[in-house]
């Protein structure tokens, strides 16, 4: 037979991974709120989770890199809209439609 605290302890990873259905999540949060010993155990696991998050790089690009990626993206989009088979009439028609 699994005790209440043991049952909720098993649910900590699922809670932190956002896997508990709403009803169980609320039940879990109520148990954390009403049981200081379990709350301590939960905070420890939560701190572990935060520690994992901090070890995962999340580096923004430098300004120069960002500009370069933007320029290359513009070029990719420019090429995407090019139709090698289109004649000058088609291109003018498309440009005209693009104005509206």
């Amino acid at each position: 037979m699994i005790s209440g605290a043991e049952n909720f302890t098993r649910k900590i990873p699922a809670y932190l991974d956002g896997l508990l259905p709403d009803e169980e999540r609320l039940e879990f949060e109520a148990f954390v709120g009403s049981n200081p010993v379990f709350a301590q155990e939960f905070r420890r696991k939560e701190a572990d989770y935060e520690s994992v998050r901090r070890r995962i790089p999340n580096l923004p690009p430098e300004q120069a890199q960002l500009r370069q990626m933007e320029d290359e993206t513009r070029e990719i989009i420019q090429n995407l809209f090019k139709d090698p088979e289109a004649g000058p009439g088609d291109r003018i028609a498309r440009w005209w439609r693009g104005l509206f």
Binding site: L19, P57, N58, L66, M69, T73, I77, Q78
Partner: protein, 167 residues
């Protein structure tokens, strides 16, 4: 959708794509190239869909949803490409500064790194991560479970560590 609309759709996402690129390939130049190559692939493969899609410049809520949708398609291409590149580049990526700064993370294989970054840095749900990367739910849960142990140094002896370049 016009050229400038398509650019407006993807431009705000570029910093995030770069961050994921660096998480998958620990070299800033390789990551930058990866972002651009995945962009080409993503836009070309879904060319007709992007060109025919409606774009209302005033609909800010719609933009958020469309960007999320674009990101999901893009991340799949980025991860597949990164897995191939990591296998090709092999040991040349093994001793960079990033690996020294995040040794536990870069010991994970490329797909597990993608799962970790999406879940922990972007707050995506397990289901969103699974659908995006084409992984069943139980595999995402297993990867999250194992990576927590591996990154906190609590892995039991039998658990495989993987290596920095394993795809």
């Amino acid at each position: 959708m016009r050229k400038k609309d398509l650019f407006s759709l993807v431009q705000p996402l570029l910093p995030r794509f770069y961050s994921l690129g660096v998480a998958l390939l620990p070299d800033d130049l390789q990551a930058q190239q990866l972002v651009v190559d995945a962009m080409t692939l993503c836009l070309l493969k879904n060319k007709d869909a992007w060109l025919t899609q409606e774009w209302d410049p005033e609909d800010r809520k719609g933009h958020v949803l469309e960007r999320k949708q674009f990101m999901k398609t893009y991340v799949r291409h980025l991860t597949d490409l990164a897995a191939k590149r990591a296998a090709q580049l092999g040991p040349t990526l093994a001793d960079g500064e990033l690996i020294q700064a995040h040794p536990q993370f870069y010991r994970l294989d490329v797909r597990t790194r993608a799962v970790a970054w999406l879940r922990f840095q972007q707050g995506w749900t397990v289901d969103e991560v699974g659908r995006t990367l084409g992984l069943p739910r139980h595999e995402v849960v297993e990867k999250l479970h194992n990576l927590r142990f591996l990154m906190l140094g609590q892995a039991p002896q039998w658990m495989p560590m993987g290596d920095a370049v394993k795809a």
